[in-house]
């Protein structure tokens, strides 16, 4: 942030994105997903690392997904999540001194 002037809606959208990152559990979920060799994990593999109940983990994953920070893919009974690198890069751009902007 930020060379150019942010419109009010842009500020709201940006804040919403950061809000998804504003919880230790969600940061840990992202970190865990990013460290998987295949880049993904299902919900049942995510409850143990963060030490919370399955409904709570699902809740956090939904928040991350709504913010575009993770992608969701259902395969059979399982739901796999993976980090959206593009979205992270977009947020990095928003924090840049000169403000990059591509993606969105």
């Amino acid at each position: 942030m930020f060379q150019r002037r942010l419109k009010e809606d842009d500020a709201t959208a940006l804040a919403a994105a950061f809000k998804a990152l504003a919880d230790p559990t969600r940061v840990r979920l992202l970190n865990f997903l990013a460290r998987q060799s295949n880049g993904e994990a299902c919900v049942c593999e995510l409850t143990a690392p963060v030490g919370l109940s399955q409904p709570t983990v699902t809740h956090h994953l939904q928040i991350l997904n709504s913010a575009g920070l993770v992608e969701r893919e259902k395969r059979g009974t399982w739901v796999y999540y993976r980090v959206s690198q593009a979205r992270l890069e977009a947020l990095r751009g928003a924090l840049a001194p000169g403000d990059s902007r591509r993606s969105g």
Copy 2:
């Protein structure tokens, strides 16, 4: 995020930093500060741009300051705030695919 494994305290600290960015008013305050020619503004210059009361603006600035995102300098009756570019850069690093690391 993140090649290396984040310790629990690191995840908490990172989440706390993003929480400071997780409000439209604070995003707008940062944006406003970053766009000043001298890089700074006092509280009384910040209430109008965001359209909130002085106590509320002070409150948000304290949150940003606690997170290290702005620096505070009192000169006479006025208190001037400026964006901490170093802190922003550190957060950018935390979002990087390979995870940079400097900062704390």
